[in-house]
């Protein structure tokens, strides 16, 4: 039996209300030494809030927290206090300093000193070591903002892992990681677990839960559903517990096989030697109307950068772009948008949400930007648009006029996706559109993408989950070292072929 492990942390009767929402009601949670405990639940179930209450980011209304070795209830008023008693956390929204170097971010507040001054050499060396444990090999003296979300996530993890002494909390740490990085992370988690550290792990990936966790606590609508041992809970049941009903079989989802008549179909997007110095080498790409084309590749392979060049987020400095048969000069994203493109960036916090603006404003902002300053969307219409999107994507929010930053991570993601759907684009570039979205809704969004394609819209789809790509894409372009290396379609579309192409092996195509 596993339950004979000693209890490390106990949370009892935790209640937390925000104006208009009860985020947690009477939730209990128990963490033992040397276990990996998955915290599961739909978007907005209260997972992050439970973590924030524990680590002092939010104050709870009610409840008690005990930790082994401390003979009174503990209340952390800040993450620093939590850290002092041995709890380290990677929050869902990475909160590092983009302007500081990677090494500084890892050691901020506990820099190695020599003669009273920061010992840069040691700091950089140690930071490099920590990251190479996670298989990340980058220049740690460069500012953090130079790197992708995934790398930033790894930096946050490296920092937390290094600090952790008793409890390590990871809130959706793998949401933008590829399989390789996930492997590495799991190896590190396993090592920490063996040394007796208790790990709280939040994720929406069921396979990861079953691979690594010992125990699962499920939350639904801010209430505790129960605590289960992972190997005694089949995944179908877990999903039911999370959403309170059965869901459609994921495998049922099937895209239309329309590869054959592509020859006749109109070409919507054509890139000819399009490139942006420093981020993506010149590439050629043809996308037909109604197609869902995927971009795959390792971290830093240039898949996001390719998307950015097409949309003009990074203004291409080489080659040409033809959109709907006409040459398109994109000077700013507005030009691309006016032509009928939409672009959902991968970095939700930095590039997606406009955090202090309301959910309604965040939904209508792209449409309003396209209409211009003088054609203001009437308030009533704005409300209708917001209602429509909230309804379509099942966004969980206590109102349309609360700041978007008060929504749970997955719900923020739905809002910014909805923002683009509202503009009714012909061509959507979706970079990790289901990042942080729960299992039930994820299928809904994948279905939505397929439906859009059926209606004649065209989609460029990027995801670090190959499974998801196989489910929605007709064609997958693979990138390596900022270069497009191959295109897979039809029968060649398989997990193993993609993996081979990504890693640099031979493929059947091209």
């Amino acid at each position: 039996m596993m339950s004979d492990k000693k209890i490390l942390l106990t949370m009892r009767h935790i209640t937390k209300t925000f104006p208009g929402v009860r985020a947690l009601s009477d939730v209990d949670f128990t963490l033992r030494y040397g276990e990996i405990h998955a915290l599961m639940g739909e978007n907005g179930a209260g997972k992050s809030t439970l973590i924030k209450v524990l680590t002092g980011v939010e104050e709870m209304d009610n409840g008690e927290i005990y930790m082994d070795g401390i003979d009174h209830t503990i209340i952390n008023r800040s993450p620093q206090e939590a850290q002092a008693i041995g709890i380290s956390t990677v929050y869902q929204e990475i909160n590092l300093c983009p302007n500081l170097s990677v090494a500084e971010n890892i050691f901020i507040g506990r820099e190695p000193k020599k003669f009273g001054r920061i010992d840069w050499k040691t700091m950089n060396r140690k930071a490099g070591d920590l990251l190479s444990n996670l298989n990340i090999h980058i220049d740690v003296s460069k500012p953090l903002s130079n790197y992708s979300v995934a790398i930033q996530q790894m930096v946050a993890i490296a920092r937390a892992v290094d600090i952790s002494s008793k409890v390590l909390i990871l809130d959706e740490p793998t949401s933008s990681l590829d399989e390789q990085e996930v492997e590495k992370l799991f190896a590190v988690m396993q090592k920490l677990k063996e040394s007796g550290i208790g790990i709280i792990f939040v994720t929406h990936f069921l396979d990861q839960v079953y691979k690594i966790s010992d125990r699962i606590t499920v939350l639904r609508n801010g209430c505790l559903v129960g605590e289960y041992e992972t190997d005694k809970l089949p995944s179908v049941e877990l999903v039911e517990l999370m959403i309170g009903k059965e869901i459609d079989d994921l495998a049922k989802l099937r895209k239309e096989e329309n590869d054959d008549n592509n020859g006749k179909k109109e070409i919507i997007v054509e890139a000819r030697e399009l490139g942006h110095t420093g981020t993506i080498n010149p590439f050629n790409l043809k996308i037909h109307k109604g197609e869902v084309i995927g971009l795959s590749g390792l971290l830093g392979s240039g898949r996001s950068e390719l998307a950015r060049a097409v949309y003009g987020a990074d203004k291409p400095d080489q080659g040409e772009l033809y959109f709907k048969g006409k040459k398109l000069q994109v000077k700013t994203p507005l030009d691309a948008m006016k032509a009928g493109m939409a672009y959902l960036p991968e970095n939700r916090k930095e590039e997606g949400i406009i955090e202090d603006l309301s959910v309604r404003e965040n939904i209508i902002i792209a449409l309003q930007a396209r209409q211009g300053i003088f054609k203001m969307i009437r308030r009533k219409e704005q409300e209708e648009f917001a209602d429509r999107i909230i309804d379509l994507l099942q966004i969980k929010t206590s109102g349309k006029d609360i700041p978007i930053k008060q929504l749970s991570g997955g719900n923020q993601q739905k809002v910014i996706l909805g923002r683009w759907l509202l503009t009714n684009p012909d061509f959507l570039i979706l970079d990790e559109p289901t990042r942080g979205i729960d299992v039930g809704t994820k299928t809904e969004i994948q279905k939505l993408v397929l439906k859009l394609a059926e209606e004649g819209k065209t989609v460029l789809f990027i995801s670090s989950e190959i499974d998801e790509m196989l489910r929605v894409c007709n064609k997958i372009a693979v990138l390596r070292d900022r270069r497009m290396v191959s295109e897979l379609k039809g029968d060649d579309l398989s997990q193993s072929n993609i993996m081979k192409a990504i890693a640099g092996g031979e493929t059947g195509d091209e």
Partner: protein
């Protein structure tokens, strides 16, 4: 008990609560020290009284704070050149009107001189906007250029003299229009504020400004021209400084390049802060800034009324401002939160025992 707490939360959560509270405190203290503080009387066909005086004197500040609010909201920076720019605008107006020596003869129509003055202010705004939005210079540094050079430019026009316009009608703008008992600057300030609010509410400019102020990168990706919007708010701030310059020169029917609008930029920034606006940009309330401007003027006027001399004034003002800003600071807010937390906990313990 809970209900009271709820209502209390609602009131304190109201964004104008704090600015109004500050103003109320200043007014109440005045009322205690000067019982006839709120008395308004009619003398020679015009209204007199502390309240009228405060509103009148705060007009320039309100106008400058209007421009400053948008600058802060969109760029998260401040325009420290507005005082000097209003001096430039005043100098351009008077120089084009009467030339390089005090006089009572107009060279060009009065209205044209006003337009030229305001245009000069706007042109300064264009310069600032270019530096900040196109060259990406820090707002403080960019506007420092005109902050220092502005008065020099005005000096060139006045050649170091104080130029007087010896014509009664020139005073109307900064004092009273014949037959109207309310000071003209109050009308002008009200007009500027109302038109700005209409502009922000009837077009999507208000939304754009907030969006760019909150997240410039995300705003660009949804199709907003972030640098154009930032450019425009600096132009608008210059325009407001131009108008303020017209009032300032008309009040004293002269231009003194060294002293016109001196230090007023600091009051304008403070007005924005006291109004409950974050100096980091983003969401803003224009009405808050207006209340902030009136509060600052009320403070100045009441300190004078308490016989504080002009050279001591900054000290007292600084003390009050430090208190006001400190109460709104995140540290104090966190501290108040901690106190609440403690109370809540002792409440819990009681419940557990019971």
């Amino acid at each position: 008990m809970n209900k009271i707490k709820h209502i209390w939360m609602k009131i304190t959560g109201f964004s104008l609560f704090f600015p109004l509270l500050c103003l109320a405190v200043v007014l109440v203290i005045n009322l205690i020290r000067t019982p006839d503080f709120f008395r308004i009387s009619m003398n020679n066909g015009v209204l007199y009284g502390y309240v009228i005086d405060i509103l009148n004197r705060s007009s320039e500040l309100i106008i400058l704070a209007t421009g400053m609010t948008l600058v802060v909201a969109a760029s998260g920076g401040t325009d420290i050149s507005v005082g000097a720019v209003s001096a430039v605008a005043g100098a351009v107006c008077i120089y084009s009107l009467i030339g390089g020596a005090s006089s009572d003869v107009y060279r060009i129509p009065y209205v044209l001189a006003l337009v030229l003055g305001i245009l000069a202010g706007t042109a300064c705004g264009v310069f600032n906007g270019f530096l900040v939005a196109k060259l990406h210079i820090q707002p403080m540094v960019a506007t420092l250029i005109l902050f220092t050079a502005g008065r020099g430019i005005a000096q060139v026009l006045t050649q170091g003299f104080i130029l007087y316009v010896r014509k009664e009608s020139f005073k109307y703008l900064g004092n009273f229009l014949p037959g109207i008992p309310v000071p003209t600057p109050i009308f002008i300030a009200a007009l500027v504020v109302i038109l700005t609010i209409l502009l922000l509410k009837r077009t999507s400019l208000g939304l754009y400004i907030q969006s760019v102020g909150v997240n410039r990168i995300a705003s660009r990706l949804v199709g907003l021209n972030s640098s154009l919007i930032i450019f425009l708010v600096y132009v608008f701030s210059g325009f407001c400084a131009g108008i303020a310059g017209m009032i300032i020169t008309s009040r004293v029917y002269s231009i003194d390049a060294n002293n016109a609008g001196l230090n007023i930029e600091l009051d304008a920034i403070l007005a924005v802060a006291i109004g409950g606006n974050s100096l980091g940009g983003g969401k803003f309330t224009l009405i808050g800034s207006v209340i902030g401007a009136i509060t600052i003027q009320a403070l100045t006027t009441s300190l004078y009324a308490m016989k504080v001399t002009a050279d001591q004034l900054p000290v007292y003002k600084a003390i009050v401002v430090v208190i006001i800003v400190a109460i709104q600071s995140p540290v104090v807010k966190r501290w108040m939160k901690a106190v609440r937390h403690k109370n809540a906990l002792s409440g819990n313990r009681k419940k557990v025992k019971a």
